[in-house]
Symmetry: C2
Subunit: 342 residues, 2 copies
Amino acid sequence: MRWAVILAGGSGSRFWPLSTPSAPKQLLPLAGPTSTAEQAVTRLEGLVPRERVLVVTGPALAGPLNAVLKLPAENILVEPRAASTAPALVWATAEARRRDPEAEVLSLHADWTIREDDAFRNTAAQALGTAARHHRLVTVGIVPSRPDTGFGYIVPGNALDDTARTVARFAEKPNAATALDLMASGALWNSGLFAWSAETLLEEVARHTPELSSHLGRLTSGDVAGFFASVTAISIDVGVLERSNAVAVVPGRFTWDDVGTWDALPRVRKRDAHGNVAVGPVHLAAAEDCVVWSAGDPIVVGGVKDLVIVHANGRILVIPRNQAADLKALLDQLPAEVRDLP
Amino acid sequence: MRWAVILAGGSGSRFWPLSTPSAPKQLLPLAGPTSTAEQAVTRLEGLVPRERVLVVTGPALAGPLNAVLKLPAENILVEPRAASTAPALVWATAEARRRDPEAEVLSLHADWTIREDDAFRNTAAQALGTAARHHRLVTVGIVPSRPDTGFGYIVPGNALDDTARTVARFAEKPNAATALDLMASGALWNSGLFAWSAETLLEEVARHTPELSSHLGRLTSGDVAGFFASVTAISIDVGVLERSNAVAVVPGRFTWDDVGTWDALPRVRKRDAHGNVAVGPVHLAAAEDCVVWSAGDPIVVGGVKDLVIVHANGRILVIPRNQAADLKALLDQLPAEVRDLP
């Protein structure tokens, strides 16, 4: 049967001061009235039933996620420690197989914004079909809408069937020139949307991932804490997909974004006639191309351009949009009592 | 004896959202640790004793001013209505004469920033001396440090003695070209710092100011409310000084500012190495020439330039510095519940 694993760890600071350790990005209504985590579960309706949706997260977020997602309690898998994506996905996949030996698993992230839910479901179903038919680890490669330097790319190889191809290689986040070349040559964004049968993933891990394989027995015996204490932190891309010969890619033709910075919000939020995104009690006069978000006091903005202005959790942030990607460096300069949020 | 009249009415919105009806500009610590109203009283020490300092203000501010100025209660003169400067100064001058028939009056404003207090006192004493000696209404003309278009100018005429001259004419707030011409020709800023004997002012009003003169009897009989209900609102400049032939000017060689906008703060506040003025819990990284004031939450500012950023009284303002003079127009566009402050 089909299962879904939603990775919902991470407490990034890229949406400071709106994001906090107990309400990080995936729990924020960044792209609409509900959080991207809630949207991720809702978007699976008709594809994977809620009782087979697993969520992997850390101890601090299990409660807040459970409160909004309303999944069966045993479907919230709490990692003893954050160890990148491979241990999380291997554990969740092993857990799905424990409950269902025929488990076919879709892997996704809780912080995505996807516009065309139908196209997403069709593509995901196709990826699950490809995984079953070819016994491969299937990646969904998003057809790029711009030469983005913030994503990794998948270079497709030979055709496996009408839609699926082998993977020639994975390309790391490129520089601007390389991104243009990749996009022109038909490379696809590596979204993190994957499909595999539990059996295939665990076989490939046993074959290629010594960082995990020698500890798989602990999962079989139910010793999750021991598994996480023993494994090396490694991503599913580096630890498995880039090493395996049983990988495939299917194209995803839907609008997909991981909204990595304040600057990215206008890609997923409605803009006014002057290109501004305004959320909360915000009053703009002659502002252009700004991102203004108040979860606190009214913000009155005059004729400024290309700024991010945020009030949330007792902090105010004002930065140029083109410096939003460097927010972490700015926060590192702050005294802890200003930077740290409840 | 010497008396001082401090005009402390006005509840302007030019320092919104920091300034409020109950704490307007003159009660804010704009230029230092204490309010400009407190500084105005302190600056008079040695020149005019506190028991002869009168303050004219409106009903809403009498309490707040009294609380910080700690003058005798009967020295706070509460105008029944705001009617510009001539009625206020005529009333206060008449009140000084009622208490002291020989009253010599210095008139000043509660919202000034003056750097050299000694020079101020010397000039004020000189103006009082000139007023007594020549029986004139004496204006102090500030020697300009820039061709400011925000002030009126005084064009001096013939010499009356070593320092005092007649006034050839008063010039309204000029355009930029005219301001340069005025400055080059030796014109002085019309600061509003005046000196006169009570007798001379009331004589000149009786002679030149029909808007007030026919109602002076009400003041004599103690009917202040009747006086204010009857008079026309008119400034001392237009109503008296520009009409009188008994006017003089003495030069003031001290740093004087009325800090009319957020943009003007860097003239009177210490700037950091990048030209920023930061007050309150403010954290700047690579910001240049900004004015950032928090009376509320910490404000974190990245690499922006020439902005005014303020958090106070539950409101946040972000505008370019060069639009600070147009703040009132911006506020007029706001819903009342955002604009109005307690």
